[in-house]
Each structure stands twice: as C-alpha cells, then as structure tokens.
Amino acid sequence: MVFESPGYLFLLLLIPVGVYFRHFSPQRGGKLPFAYRVWNARGFVPSFFARRAVFALATISFWSAVVALVLALGGPADVTRERVFLNRGIDMMIVLDESPSMAAEDFAPVNRFESARDTIRRFVEGRENDPVGLVSFGAEAALRVPPTTDYVKLGDALEGLRIMELGDGTAIGMGIALGALHLRSSDAPEKVMILLTDGENNAGEVPPETAARVATEIGIRIYTIGIGSETEAPIEFTDPQTGQVYRGTFEGGFDEAILREIAELSGGAYFYAGTSGTLESVFEAIDSIETTEKRVRIEVNTEPRHRLLIIFAIGALLLDFFIRKLLLREVL
C-alpha cells in the first residue's frame, strides 16, 4: 500500500487544530444540556454515562470521517509489480502416457500416474515465460492444452486427466506426432518435448521412430523418460467410461532401446525413473538443462484504494449527524 500524493497527508496535522477549536477553545460556545419536555411523572434522571458515551461515539465518527477523507486525498493504492519478460522462452510439450499400466502402484504414494502428474505440476510451477503444452495418449493421443504461459489452464487440464480415458493401449508414436504438430507453428528458437511412458508402443498408425524423425526436422529436442520398476506391482484403476474398477497385478516394461533412439535422434536425452524420487530428479535435471537467459522489465501497476475510505467517511458523517441531531437533539 502506498500513497500516490502523500503531500495531502500533511492536512492531517490540521486535525488537532480543528479538534481544539471545536471541543476545547474557550470561544467555541458552550454546551448546555437542558430538558426540552415537561417532566411527566417519571422522575427526571438523565442517564449521564449513556449520553456521554453516545456523544463520544458521534465525535469519534466525525473525526474519523475527516481522517478518512484526508487519507483518501492522499490516493492510497495497492502496488503490484509484474515481471514482464523481454525475450522468448523455450516452448515445451509434455507428452504423458495415460494407459492403464500407469496405475501400477510401485510409485509412492499412489501410483505411477499420480507421481508423474505431481512431478509435472511442480516442474511447470518452476518455469517462467516458457510456453508449456500437454498431450496425453493411450490407444489414441489428444492435445489437452496447446503450449501456453497460462499455467493455470495447464494445471486444470493436468488435473482433469484420467487413466484409460484414451483407450487401452500405448500409442507413443501418435503422442510424439501430435506434440510435434502443435509445436510446429511456434517460432521459438528452442523447442522441447518431454515424453513419459511406462510401456511399449502397441497402438496408433505412426511408429515412434518416424514421429521422432518428423519432430527432429521441426527442431524439437525430445527427452524420453521410461518409468516403472522392474518387479511385479499391484494395479487398480477405474474405467472412466464404464465406471468398472479393475484390480490385479502388473508386470511389463517399456522399450528402453526405442526411447534411447528417439532421444539420441533428436538431440535430447533418455532417463530411467524407477521410483517417484528419481522421476523428480529427472525433471530437475531437464529443468536445469533447459534454461535460457531471461531479460526482465518490472512493470508497476497501481490499483487505487480510495473508494472504501470515502464510503466509510460518508457513513461516519451520517452516523454523527443522526446521533447528534436526531438522537441527542443538539440544537446546532
């Protein structure tokens, strides 16, 4: 909170003078309480304390109204400082596996999918000025959010993902191809794709290598992350279409060779994440590799806040009027 014209606040110094003239000056005119009605059999007992208290309330509200008006004159305002980025960030597309095997419960605290979702959320929170998009895939692939710096919208989309929403299958090639399609029109100097999967490509018309080659031609670096432990893991998930709950055990892995090949082909890197902790460090590693120098200008926006003070002042002045003139029947 700042005052845009603090000079007006010097008027506050005049308030004690006003208080003196109104309440203490010998020339102020006296105060003479008197009964304005004929005594009517009920004993004339002025409730001294109550009257003093009400009068004090009126006086306080009058002077606080004056203070509020002077403060409002000073132009109180909330100041927000917005970091405005002068250069382009890195365009990123996160391509996330949504197939049923992602429900395997070998990643603390819930399963692979929730760990991946949490890690991605934290990763995105750490980025600034880098447009991030989201593609998810099962048997099909779908764009959830185009690359954007609107991280709120991205977070909402991430939250809305459901396992098996896009069918039972792992269409890695389709995921990469779709991600590449949506990074195509970007003129960012650096384009990055982060692919998370726990399975082998077994669906979709586009083989992963072909999709990776197309992406490489557009200038996209692909980081591939294979996730999942090598042991048998319990699995439980709900089919979003039928609402049926599936339970069992799952054993199966991803095709490390393909993921390595995709990463090498595009100039990215391959990572293996066997636990949620390693997944976190993989994202930290990518975060530190993919940084650009940021040129920033600070834009100061002020939001005036004088209106509340004026509303308060009007209310307090009217309260003072009602108490003194109507309740206490002050003559002048």
Binding site: G18, V70, S185, L332
Partner: protein
C-alpha cells in the same frame, strides 16, 4: 469526460431525505431554543436560522461532493510508457442460443462469428490467440497460444452447444477474456468481442473500461439484424416462448458500440467484407501505433477535486456552527 461508476450518482437522491431531516431538526431546534431565549427570542432565532442554514447547507454539500468523488469522474489524458511488441488477441465469443439465429442471408450468427475469427487468425500470422466462450457464464477454452493448429481446430468446431448456461452475460465474457491475457508477456493486447449484444446482463461497460485503462481496446463485432430473426433449434423447430409465440432475436449494436467506446476500441456490424476490412485495419493500426509511439494515453481520475471540495465544505459546516456570532449573541 468519463464516469467509472455512474450508478453511484443515484445516491445523490438520498440528499433529499437528508435535507428533510435537517429541516425537521431545525424545527425542533427552534422550538427548544425558543424555550431558553426569553426576551431575546427573535434575535436568537434569527441568528439560529442563519447558522443552521449555512451549517446544514455546507454539510449537505460535503456529502454530495463525497458521492461525486465516489462516482469516479475522469477527464483529460496523460501518457503512460508502454514499450511492447507483438500482439496477443483474445476472442470473447458469444455462444448463447440467440447466436443460432439466421438473419437475412440465412447464415447463422455463430457461423459468421467463426468466419470472422478464422479471417483474423489468418491475417495476423505472428500474433498469439486465446479464446473465451460465454453465454450465462464464461469459460476460457483456448489459453493464449502460438499454436495455430489448436486455435484453428477449436474455431472450426465452435457451436452454441459449448455452454449450457442460458443468457448472455457480456460482463463475464469480457472479464474472463481480459483475465486470459497471460501475465508477464511483453506484447500488445487486443480483445475481440463477437456477439449479437442481445439480452445482455451485468455491467459490461465497467469491464470494458477496466480493459481500456489497462491498454486493452475491445473491438466489438455485432452479428444479426436489428429487425430480428427466429432461432432454429437442433430438431428444426423454431424457438418459442412459454405461450407458444415464436421468439424473435434482435441484435443490439448499441451496447456493443458503447463497450467499444468505453475501452477505446471500435465497433463493427456483421461479417461482410467491409466490416472485416475495417476491423483488420483497426487492429493493425493499433499494433503499429503502439510499436511506433511506445506509449499510450490514459484518462486521469479526478476524484481529488471533489474530495477537496468535500473537506472544505465540511470544515465550513463546522466553522459556521462553532464560531460565535459576535455582537448578536
């Protein structure tokens, strides 16, 4: 001259009962004082009348000036440095049921809106776009992005069935569209409002002013005819009201012009070549002007003028009351 909160001015009517109460208090005061004054009754009551009149008059003026300060008057302009480059465009598209109406040439309003958006996207190859749809509620469907594939595919699938909330809340639409501009982007910002303006709710002018004062003009495109058209439902029948009368949906270009005016933008009618050409000229002109000049003009709020008068008249109302009327009393 601009008034940010014109509704506040209605409060000025409250001064009438205030004056009546003051007069009531005067009658009481005169009666009470008369009891005390004795022989000098006439003199005392004359002074009382004068003092009461000026004290009450100044007090009422103080309240009136405070109300005027609250109304948010602004006039004159000052320049604010704004060194941005590039362009972010957010579309606020009306998807209420009235946008289904077909006017004259039998093209639905929503289809015309789609064509206009597609045209804009095509003609601004380096801009980023975002899309907000609204009816009774507003929803950010495409965040501001450079991904033209996503923008194009959303526009071509856009229909009036995206939102179920009935009604047309232009205020929510504008607010959501304004909020859709991402923070920290060093780009010029333009809001394109596409609606028939019909059955508006809320106070869109206030939203338009907020956008305008942040340097975001609203370019408003009105679809539909003022004479009105019927609305065809998905089963081919026409929309009727509770009594079975066919509903006529009329465009309201007036509110759209006001919105554009309040934000420093411009308004257009329909999707015809002339209107579209004008719209594109305005958007390009805006971007070029901003990039060339590096500043924008904002109106200067003048609440202080009224507040100063409020403080002065309030002081006078006390001074008249407190200081003795020498030689008389």
């Amino acid at each position: 001259m601009n008034i940010e909160y014109p509704r506040v001015l209605w409060l000025l009517f409250a001064l009438i009962p205030l004056a009546a109460l003051q007069f009531y208090q005067f009658r009481n005061g005169r009666h009470d004082l008369g009891l005390l004054a004795g022989d000098r009754r006439e003199e005392v009551l004359t002074v009382y009348l004068v003092k009461w009149f000026f004290s009450s008059f100044f007090f009422t003026l103080a309240i009136a000036f405070s109300i005027l300060a609250l109304a948010g008057f602004s006039w004159g302009q000052r320049s604010v440095e704004e060194d941005r480059s590039g362009l972010d465009v957010v579309f606020a598209v009306d998807v209420s049921r009235s946008m289904r109406a077909r006017d004259g040439d039998e093209t639905g309003r929503i289809i015309e809106a789609r064509e206009t958006m597609q045209g804009i996207v095509q003609d601004l190859p380096t801009a980023r776009f975002g899309i907000v749809v609204f009816a009774g509620q507003a929803l950010r469907t495409v965040p501001v992005t450079e991904d033209r594939v996503a923008v194009d595919s959303f526009i071509s699938s856009l229909g009036t069935d995206v939102l179920s909330a009935a009604g047309t809340d232009l205020e929510q639409g504008l607010d959501a569209a304004f909020a859709a501009f991402p923070e920290g982007a060093n780009r010029n910002r333009v809001l394109v409002l596409l609606s028939d303006g019909e059955q508006h709710r809320g106070n869109p002018l206030r939203s338009a002013e907020v956008a305008g004062s942040a340097g975001v003009p609203v370019f408003a495109v009105t679809f539909g005819s003022v004479e009105g058209s019927t609305i065809t439902l998905s089963d081919g029948s026409r929309l009727t009201d509770a009594e079975g009368n066919v509903v006529l949906s009329r465009a309201d270009p007036g509110i759209m012009e006001d919105i554009a005016g309040a934000s420093g933008g411009a308004s257009f009618r329909g999707s015809g070549g002339e209107a579209f050409g004008g719209l594109m000229r305005e958007i390009r002109g805006f971007e070029e002007r901003r990039e060339r000049e590096g500043f924008r003009l904002v109106s200067v709020p003048r609440f202080r003028v009224f507040l100063i008068f409020a403080v002065i008249t309030l002081s006078l109302s006390v001074i008249v009351r407190v200081f003795r009327w020498r030689g008389v009393v």
